[in-house]
């Protein structure tokens, strides 16, 4: 199961989400034989030492597992990838609060191809109200084991 899971971030350079992804995946890799891949648009030095594989995002097109996008931009790319069998969006920030046309927002947050996980209950409530859809689950601090439980 875990082999076919990947996370898609813009980069792993310093930032709250990058930090959580790195710490969680380091912990997961040390405790499990099989790891989780991370695809990034910008291969820069991760904010902390990474003990998991990092690949460039153009490899994502041929990845045939579950992929978790972590923001608006990565979700936009993921939607157009033909290979991933399951597409998840982890909402760590309410990015539609920036000036974007509704059409563009709806193509991501209203897209039924993407399942949504939020980082807290308040965001879950907001997403369900704003986009008239059910959220798959709530996972704090990008807890990868909890995400895997939800995805089972």
């Amino acid at each position: 199961m875990s082999k076919s899971i990947a996370i898609y971030c813009q980069n792993l350079i310093k930032g709250q989400l990058s930090y959580f992804v790195c710490t969680q995946l380091n912990k997961f890799t040390s405790e499990n034989v099989s790891g989780v891949n991370v695809f990034v648009d910008d291969i820069g030095n991760p904010c902390i030492y990474a003990e998991f594989p990092i690949l460039h995002s153009f490899e994502l097109y041929s990845f045939d597992g579950t992929v978790i996008a972590t923001d608006y931009n990565t979700a936009g790319v993921l939607i157009n990838c033909p290979s991933p069998t399951r597409k998840i969006l982890y909402i760590n920030d309410l990015e539609w609060m920036y000036p974007v046309a509704f059409k563009d927002n709806a193509s991501i947050y209203g897209n039924k191809e993407l399942e949504i996980i939020t980082c807290n209950d308040r965001y879950k409530e907001i997403v369900e109200n704003a986009w008239n859809r059910k959220v798959l689950g709530v996972v704090n601090d990008f807890d990868i084991e909890k995400i895997m439980e939800i995805l089972k």
Binding site: L94, W96, M97, P99, V100, A101, F102, K103, D104, N105, A106, G110, I126, N129, A130, W131, N132, R133
Partner: protein, 244 residues
């Protein structure tokens, strides 16, 4: 018929498709974006539609030189140039009021992903009013969504809309918050939504024939400008819509 429109507001947004339907060539420009002299020289418009506040020295001189038929959509602001043109009887048609935009807002469809209890269009309100409305909506614990070209940094603000999206959003909402007596209220009714003028439920209950629509406005303008054939076309269009 070449029509130059020197403004863009709610009334004109509704008027443009009507004029296009009767075969007019529409040109839109805003002050400062291009030299009015060049534009008048190039287009030689038969009709100029503007608002009093948009008549500046440059436009005034163009009107003097090219003498297009002048339509002024009145708002509360007037200036010296407008007064001067008015005194010289150069204004062929002066219209004001709120008009239901039946060509843009009719034919909406309800979309489940857009359904909500209360809809707020942010470009219909001053910013201070928006703050108070948002606070009230939270107090009443109702589901609401905000759209519009006025950006509001709020999680329930979902972005700006095209006219086609706007009518679907209105149709899908149980109630849309409007300014009482405005064209917004009538547009909401045309789109098939429920309009409220305040948080107290006040649905608009008027028949289409009783409403002031953009077609009525066009007929009024064309009558003033003495375009009889086009006026008849507008009347036929209104009849066909009222029947359906």
């Amino acid at each position: 018929m070449k029509i130059l429109i020197n403004s863009y507001n709610q009334t004109l947004r509704g008027l443009i498709p009507v004029l296009q339907q009767i075969g007019a060539d529409i040109f839109i420009y805003q002050n400062g974006t291009r030299a009015a002299f060049d534009l008048f020289h190039e287009i030689k418009p038969d009709v100029l539609i503007t608002t009093p506040q948009n008549i500046n020295r440059e436009l005034y001189k163009c009107i003097e030189k090219y003498s297009p038929k002048l339509v002024v959509i009145n708002d509360t602001t007037i200036n010296d140039f407008f007064m001067d043109l008015s005194q010289k009887n150069k204004i062929n048609s002066l219209v004001s009021g709120n008009y239901a935009d039946i060509l843009n807002y009719a034919g909406s469809s309800i979309r489940p992903e857009l359904e909500t209890d209360l809809l707020i269009m942010t470009d219909w309100y001053p910013r201070e009013a928006l703050v108070s409305i948002i606070k009230n909506a939270f107090d009443y614990n109702i589901k609401f969504k905000m759209f519009g070209s006025t950006f509001v940094a709020h999680p329930y603000y979902l972005g700006s809309l095209s006219i086609d999206e706007e009518k679907d959003v209105i149709a899908s909402a149980k109630r849309t918050l409007c300014i009482s007596g405005s064209s917004n209220e009538m547009n909401v009714w045309v789109a098939g939504g429920g309009a409220v003028s305040s948080l107290i439920d006040k649905p608009v209950r008027k028949k289409l024939s009783e409403l002031n629509t953009t077609l009525h406005l066009s007929i009024e303008i064309l009558k003033d400008l003495d375009y009889k054939k086009e006026m008849e076309q507008c009347q036929n269009l209104l009849q066909s819509i009222v029947k359906t």
